[in-house]
Structure formats: structure tokens, C-alpha cells
Amino acid sequence: MPLVDGSRVGAPGIVADRKRPGPDVTSFVVMMALISVGVLMIYASTREQLELQNLDPGRLMQRQIIFAVIAVGVYVAGSLLDYREFRNYAAWIYLGTLAALILLISPLIPAQENVKRWIDLGIFQVQPSEFAKITMVIVLATVLAPARQEGMQWKRIVQALFLVAIPALLIFLQPDLGTMLVFAFVTFVMLFAGGATWKQMIALGGGTVGAVAVVFQRGLLKDYQLERLTAFYDPSADPLGIAYQQAQSVTAIGSGQLTGTGLFDGALTNLRFVPEQETDFIFTAVGEQLGFLGSALVIAAFVVLLWRAFVVAAMARDRFGSLLAVGIGSMIMFQVFVNIGMTMKIMPVTGLPLPFLSYGGSSLLTFAFAMGLLNSIWRKRSPVPGETYIV
């Protein structure tokens, strides 16, 4: 394989050391730890309620364990695939995702409690917008990677924005503001990582702010749309309102204090004082039961994952891999920040799940696959620093 940029190509012993690099054990272990904590928290926050309904108290936990097992499989599959192949299939993946999103908002799929977010496959429901996030990262990496050689022209930026805008709009129509925000954030980060100049970034930022201002000023959004923008996706399940939900969330976290009430001993968690706790507000279960020490550890685990994503981005053998890693990292980072920030009342309630912890298969499988991709990029890195694939 031809080499470029390898300053120490001719150095003795290099060829002899060249063996297949191992997987990223650290990120796998951390991911599995987070999934395990999530399973425990789901059990803690649902068991008493399920028992009251004469259901198996472990019902939701068991489903999440099944998802976790599948997630490991998805992770392994993602690890074994050569990430570079995704470039070749990016167009098909993109079109497939668009088809799923269009199908979702079409009259073929019935709305559930006013929103169209799930496709019911009988035994479980699929949430296409979760998978659409990966599609977006792959498409953006594909479009932006050539900028390494050609520079980041406006033409490329517009192309990337156009490609992101279509699924983003379809997701907005569901409506799912949170996921749309993930799209926006990841796009910005990947544009910057891909080589956009400061001037371009400022222009894009200004344009976005301007566009949002116009939408609000002109009243292009109807009241119910505004409500949907600001209100939690499922108002009927939350009759007491979002302010109440967030206040309850902070109370639950705060009452954990330094060391927490102890696993399964959280009074607010046990009695479901926080609505939607096992999904979007799962962090409150961590906060109340495990206290500051446990909560900080969970956030620290996400920091480790983020650190690994950046190491992978730095070590990737090509720009496509680097951008994929940055996209995956920023996607995790954004959801963690928005979700935990929401439970602590420094971010608005947008309805984004906490990666790996929140109950729900689509989210778990998406993030497991993303971690698998990250591992694939890691495994394809060169044992020789700086050695890169051409193209």
C-alpha cells in the first residue's frame, strides 16, 4: 500500500512490527458500564409501579437487557465492518433513511399521542430518527472529507446543509425538536472539524440565528407548533406541565446529596415523583440514589467516551474516519449535555434520551452502532503514527 506523509517509513523494524491493531477496549468497557447502570436505574424507577399494576416488576428492565444484548451484537458488527465501505453506500443509506422518515409522517403510520415518531413492528417499535442521526454523520463525513484536499468551499457547505436539511425537516414534522437540534449541532461541529474557516462558521451561525428570528418574528409557527417546540413531546402524559417536571427532576437529583439514598432506596424514584423517569429523566434516578459521587462518575464515563472519540479522530487513517469519529463524539456529547442539563434545569426540556442509560431500544442500538463504528475506525488506524490512507 503506497504511503504518504510517513516520515519514518524507511525506519528499520517498522514493517516487522506491523500487525493488526487491537480493538478499543476502554470505550467498550465504559459503554457496557453505562448500559449496566441504565438497566439498574430502569429497574429502580419502574419496579414499584409495575408491581402496583400487577405486572412483573422486572418487565422493563428485561426488555432493556434484551436490547443491550442486541446492542452488543450491533457493536461487534459495526466494529467488524470496514467503515470506509459506508462511503460507497452513503447515498443508499441516505435515501433509505429519507424513505423511512417520509413513511413515518405519511398517513400510513398512525400518530401516537399526537406525535409520529415510532413505526410499530409488532414486538417492538422502531424510532427512525434515532438511526437517522448515524446516517447524517456518515453523509456529512462523506461530503466533507474531500475538503482536505480541495479546501472547504461554500459550494460544499451548501451541499452538506442541503443534504442535512431534508431529514431535519422531516424530523421537525414529527415533531421532534430535540433530534433536529442534534442534527444542527453535529453539522456545525463537523463543518468546523472538516475545515470551514472562522469566517464561514460565523456566517453560518449568524444565518441560523437570523433564520430562527425570522421564523419567530413572522409568526410562521402556529401556537401549537410553538408549544410543541417548547413543550415536551408528550403533553398528555404530563398533565402537570413541564415546569413541574423539571422542578421534580431537580428535587430528585438534589435530594441525593453527596452519597445518594442508596440503590432502590430513592423515595422519589420508587414512587415515580419524576414523570418520564425511566426514559428522558433517567439521570434523576442516578442523582437521587447514587448522589453526587455516582452522578459525577456517570458524567465522567461520558467524558472518557468523548476522549476516546477524539483520540480515534486524531488517529484515524483518513479524513472520512476522522470526521465520522468527530460526528459520533459530538452527537454523544450534545445529547449528554442537553439531557443532563435538562434534568438539572440549565437546559430546556427537549425530549432527548440519555445515551446508553435511557430506556428504549432504538436509541441504545444507534449509540452502540456508533461506538462500533468508532471501534472500526480505531482498528483501521495505522500502527505508525501519521500514516494515512490516500483519498
Binding site: 472539524a193 437529583i253 438534589g254 453527596l258 422519589l268 459525577a296 468523548l306 479524513r319 459530538s330 438539572m344
Partner: protein
């Protein structure tokens, strides 16, 4: 900027964001964790307050006058009744309580949503039915509720008072310790000692789920029954007092003296101010208020002055009973008719007193009275000689009319002896009566109603004149006093000068038996009397109830009328009305213990109406005197009198 540097910029940005999360986490969990923990506990607990049984009221011998009995009460928690269940529930309740559905519905609407609504007391059968058919009665609970019981009916009603629902002002003043659906004292001892009688509400602390549904009892702080209030009053004496006053009112009609509709009597211990009996006619049964009284009923009772406690609120001209005060002013200040220097100096009372312009500043006036012949201070009191006391007033006028400090020397004596201001009895709404003076008339003249209060010549000539003092000297004119004030004044006259603050409550004792409050003897002030006063006061008061005295006839039936003393008062209120009949008695007079004040409004001549009633009460108080009837042919004691009465 190359790619590693771009990664570094992004990494820095992410570090900042995560630092924000850690900082916020520290702030929420560590810096303010305790606050959130308290909030969390608060949310998990709900408190129900329970009602405390009201304290008992007992008489001086411990006999029960007011108590609380526990009865089952039906409560609807409207918050627990779904909108579509309400109509069915109303029908069920209507059938159970046998009340029209319209009435029950009105109660529901009146109470408003999400409130607890009382449907009143239920029988054990009704309670059992509700419990058995709980599904048909959503939100209905049967609670034990203490209700007030007054075993003696209307006896002592003006002392005991009554209770009622707290007004919004009461609730605001009392704070969370007062049950807005509970009761509060509104009148009498029930009001004055409410803080002791109220008791402490209990608390039931429940653990609740997020919807507020109770999960279990966490803690119970039981309600503490209110303290027991022991009155200084005695049931037996009270019955005798009520009987005597009622007999005197009949007597007044029989003798065609008057047609009394209002009357009062008070018996007080002259040594310590304990009120031993206090009666106001008409009275009421406090039980009327236990379940609430309708506005119509209340107004009807109020129109009959049922809620006026005449012994403390009935301020009327005291008439000749005031002469006791004039007597004290005269003998203590040496104020005798012109030309006389001692109490034994006599004037010749021919029943007339001519006044020249010099003495009255309002022209020639002739005062008339029955003639008493040669009269000194002693016989003037015993025979109630107006002329003598007018002369005393004239002496005051002549001596002090140019001395603004002392022109009201008679009023000063009245005020010193507790007239003109409330006595400070431990009952609400006491009135202070009135002792007129120049300042009062000037105030009246300056008021918008001046021309109604004062005659026209007051405005053109002198506003204050000698005749006014003459009026005061015999308890007429604008003098007003309550029976209790007269009792306190006479007590001071005979007890060596101690003006007492009367009290109806002796002690307040908690359910554990601790003395919470000991009211005891309370002294408003003491007066230094002259030797002459101490020497003659008892003797001169005795003249009234013995041969030659104004009440001699009424007291002649006694075995030993010499052990009594007192003063009659036949006060003119209004030319069109009958005289108010007063008697203030002291017994035993040589070692004074009791003062008895009787006032029969529109009763007539004091010696014929009020005096027999006072005598009857005094006979009851004196151990060696058989009780004789107030009116000829009547009973001596009430039919329901108890043997342990005296």
C-alpha cells in the same frame, strides 16, 4: 488551522460544557442538597389536622357547665369526588339523611370544589350504612367530631357565652392552629378564654404518592383537649339570683310599678372581686349555637336584647344608689351643706330647694322632694334625702367653681370607685358607663349631634353649672353605670378602699391537672378613706334596710336585718318610662363579704321591687337567715334548687 488544532478547539469547547455540568451537579446535590431533600420529604408527606375537643367550663364547685362530646360527623371531601359521580352521590346522601336533594346540592355548591364539606351529625345506623356501602359514597368519610354540650341550658348563659364558626378575621388572626371549619368562642367566657378552651389541634402525617393519595400513616400527634376553666360563680347561687330577679319582675307587674323586660343582677365577693352570680334577663340557651344558628333566629333573639349582658353592658342612670358615692365624697372631703361642719350636722329638709341665680347661673330653679325634716349625712343616706345631697353638690359648686382642677371633685370620687370606665372584668364587650363633666359637655357641644345632646340654653349661657353636679349627686342627669360597676364601687366603700377588678374565672387547669392560669384577686387601685368614713359607712348603709330606711319594708321579714346594708335607687330614665329599680346590698354588713347589685329596668320603686329581690339573694347568702319569698305568696327558692346550694 490544521485538523489536530481543530480537534483541540472542539475538545476545549466540550471541556467547558462538561465543566458546566459538573458545577451545576455540585451546586444541586452538595451545595443545596439539604434544601432539595427537605422539599422531597415535604412532597412525600401530607398532613391532616384533627380537631381538639374544647375545654370544659365548670362552676366554683366543679359542676359541669359546658363540655365537649364526640359525635360522628359526615364529611365529603369534594376533591375526591369525580364530576360524573357527584349527582349520584347527592342522591345517595339525600336518601340516607332524608334531606331533599336540592338542599344537599346547594350545600355542595356553597362549599365549592376541592373543599371538605360537613353534612352534620349522623346516627350510628347511618354511619354503618356509609361504611358498608363505601362504593356508593365516594369521598365520604365519617369523622369523630367534638361538639359543645351545655348541660344547664340557659343558666349562666351570659357568663358562659357561645361559640360559632370563626370569621375570616378570626382565622387570619389565629393562623394555622385554628381550624377554619371548627369553632371559636364568640361571647362570654367562651370568647374571653378561647385561647385556653380551644385546645391544640392534632396532626396526622401521611406518606403520599405524587397524586397525593395516602400510602400510610407516618406520624400521629394527637389533639390535646382544651383546658378546663373553673368559674368563680356558683350554680346554686346563680339559680337563686335568677329566681329572685324573675320574681321581682313579676312583683313589679303585680304592684303595677312597671312592666320590666330587662333586668340584671350580680353578686360579687367584696374581698377578692370574685363574681359569684351574674344574671341578665332575657337570657338564651348557648346550645342554639352548637350547630350554627340561622340569621333569622339570631336577629329575632338580638331584637329582644338577648345578647346584651346587662350586668356589664347595661349602663343606666344609677339613681339614688349613687348617693353612696356622694356620701363618700362628702365625708372624706368634708363637703357638707352650707353651715354644717360634720356628718352629724343637720339641715331641715322640707322637700324643696330654691336656688338663686348666683348658685346655678341659669335662673331660678326649684328642686322638690319629699320632706325628711331634720337630716344629717347618716339619715340622708338611710332615707335617701335628695335635698341633703343636693346641698352637698351646691357646696362643691360654691367651693370649687373657680378651681378647674377640683370642680369635678365628685366625679373624681366616682371614677376612683370604678365608675365611668370598664371595671376590667374578664368578659368581652364590657361597657364603661358615663360620669359627665365640663369636658364631656364641651365635647358634645363640639360634635355634630351637639344640639340633640344638649339643651339650647347651654350654648348661650353656661355649658356646665351647679345643677349638673346636683344631678350627679343623686345619680341622675347624664350619669350612667352598670350593675357591676356599682357592685365594685360599693365593695370598695365597705372593704377599706380596695377597688377590685372583678373576675368570673377562678383558675384554668390543663387536662393533666396543672394550673395554667390563676386569675385571683386583682386590685385596680386602693383609696385611703378617712376615719369618719370607716366609722360610719357600714352603720349608714344599715339604716337603709332597717326602720326608717328606704328598704326597711323589704327587709323587715328578715330575722336579723341588722346584718345587712345597702342602698336603694329609683332612677328616672325618661318621663315616658317607668323608673329603673336598683338595689345594692352588702352582707354581712359588720364584716362585709358579699355585694349584691340588682337592677330591674322599668321596675318601679326600688324599695318595693329591687330591694326584695336583693334581700332574697342575701338571705340565701347568709347562713343564719331563712330565705323568704320575693313576692307575697311566691316561692322562696326556685323549684329546681339543689340542697347543696348555700
Amino acid at each position: 488551522m490544521n485538523f489536530p488544532r481543530r480537534l483541540a478547539v472542539l475538545g476545549m469547547a466540550f471541556v467547558v460544557l462538561f465543566s458546566l455540568l459538573f458545577t451545576r451537579l455540585w451546586f444541586v446535590q452538595v451545595a443545596s442538597g439539604i434544601m432539595y431533600e427537605e422539599e422531597a420529604s415535604r412532597q412525600q408527606l401530607d398532613a391532616d389536622r384533627t380537631t381538639a375537643a374544647r375545654g370544659e367550663i365548670r362552676d366554683a364547685r366543679g359542676r359541669l357547665l359546658a363540655s365537649s362530646r364526640i359525635v360522628p360527623e359526615m364529611i365529603v371531601d369534594q376533591a375526591a369526588v369525580a364530576a360524573d359521580e357527584e349527582e349520584a352521590l347527592i342522591q345517595q346522601i339525600s336518601a340516607l339523611l332524608d334531606r331533599p336533594a336540592v338542599e344537599v346540592r346547594a350545600l355542595f355548591e356553597q362549599a365549592g370544589p376541592a373543599t371538605q364539606l360537613s353534612l352534620g351529625m349522623v346516627t350510628p345506623e347511618q354511619m354503618a350504612y356509609v361504611l358498608k356501602n363505601a362504593a356508593d359514597f365516594p369521598g365520604v368519610v365519617v369523622q369523630d367530631r367534638p361538639i359543645r354540650v351545655y348541660p344547664e341550658g340557659s343558666l349562666l348563659s351570659h357568663v358562659i357565652g357561645y361559640i360559632g364558626r370563626p370569621s375570616p378575621d378570626d382565622v387570619a388572626a389565629a393562623g394555622p392552629d385554628l381550624d377554619p371549619n371548627g369553632t371559636i368562642g364568640k361571647y362570654g367566657v367562651e370568647k374571653f378564654y378561647d385561647e385556653y378552651l380551644q385546645g391544640e389541634r392534632g396532626t396526622l402525617l401521611y406518606r403520599v404518592d405524587p397524586q397525593g393519595r395516602p400510602l400510610g400513616l407516618e406520624e400521629e400527634l394527637p389533639a390535646v383537649q382544651g383546658d378546663t376553666v373553673y368559674l368563680t360563680l356558683d350554680q346554686g347561687l346563680q339559680r337563686q339570683t335568677e329566681f329572685a330577679v324573675n320574681e321581682a319582675m313579676i312583683l313589679s307587674r303585680e304592684l303595677e310599678e312597671g312592666n320590666p323586660e330587662l333586668a340584671a343582677a350580680v353578686v360579687m365577693d367584696v374581698t377578692d372581686g370574685s363574681v359569684l352570680a351574674l344574671y341578665s334577663y332575657p337570657d338564651f340557651d348557648p346550645s342554639l349555637f352548637v350547630n350554627g344558628i340561622s340569621q333569622v333566629e339570631y336577629t329575632a333573639l338580638e331584637e329582644r336584647n338577648v345578647f346584651t349582658s346587662l350586668p356589664i353592658q347595661g349602663a343606666y342612670p344609677p339613681g339614688s344608689t349613687f348617693k353612696g358615692i356622694t356620701w363618700a365624697a362628702a365625708i372624706n372631703e368634708g363637703l357638707y351643706p352650707r353651715g354644717i361642719a360634720s356628718p352629724s350636722g343637720t339641715i331641715n329638709c322640707d322637700g324643696e330647694l330654691d336656688l338663686g341665680i348666683d348658685d346655678n347661673e341659669a335662673g331660678q330653679l326649684v328642686f322638690t322632694d319629699s320632706g325628711h325634716g331634720a337630716t344629717d349625712l347618716h339619715t340622708a343616706l338611710g332615707e335617701s334625702c335628695n335635698v341633703y345631697f343636693w346641698q352637698v353638690a351646691l357646696t362643691i359648686w360654691r367651693e370649687y367653681k373657680n378651681d378647674p382642677e377640683n370642680e369635678d371633685i365628685l366625679q373624681q370620687w366616682a371614677r376612683r370607685l370604678s365608675l365611668g370606665e370598664p371595671t376590667g372584668v374578664d368578659l368581652p364587650f364590657e361597657k364603661g358607663g358615663r360620669i359627665p363633666d365640663r369636658a364631656l359637655y364641651e365635647e358634645w357641644a363640639a360634635s355634630p349631634q351637639g344640639s340633640l345632646l344638649l339643651s339650647p340654653d347651654r350654648f348661650t349661657e353656661a355649658i356646665w353649672r351647679g345643677g349638673d353636679i346636683m344631678g350627679i349627686a343623686i345619680g341622675q342627669g347624664d350619669v350612667l353605670a352598670t350593675p357591676l360597676q356599682m357592685a365594685v364601687a360599693y365593695a370598695a366603700l365597705v372593704n377599706g378602699g380596695t377597688v377590685l377588678e372583678p373576675h368570673v374565672v377562678d383558675q384554668v387547669i390543663s387536662v393533666q391537672g396543672d394550673v395554667v392560669l390563676d386569675v385571683g384577686r386583682r386590685v385596680a387601685r386602693t383609696i385611703e378613706f378617712t376615719e369618719a368614713h370607716e366609722q360610719f359607712i357600714r352603720e349608714d348603709l344599715t339604716r337603709v334596710t332597717n326602720a326608717g330606711g328606704t328598704a326597711a319594708a323589704a327587709f323587715s321579714v328578715m330575722q336579723n336585718p341588722w346584718q345587712t346594708g345597702g342602698k336603694t335607687g329609683t332612677a328616672e330614665r325618661d318621663a315616658s318610662k317607668d323608673n329603673t329599680s336598683w338595689f345594692i346590698g352588702i352582707a354581712p354588713i359588720d364584716n362585709p363579704r358579699y355585694v349584691v347589685a340588682v337592677m330591674i329596668v322599668d321596675g318601679g320603686i326600688a324599695g318595693r321591687v329591687a330591694a326584695p329581690a336583693a334581700r332574697n339573694i342575701m338571705q340565701y347568702l347568709l347562713p343564719n337567715e331563712p330565705v323568704t319569698p320575693v313576692r307575697p305568696g311566691g316561692a322562696a327558692t326556685p323549684a329546681d334548687a339543689t340542697e347543696d346550694g348555700s
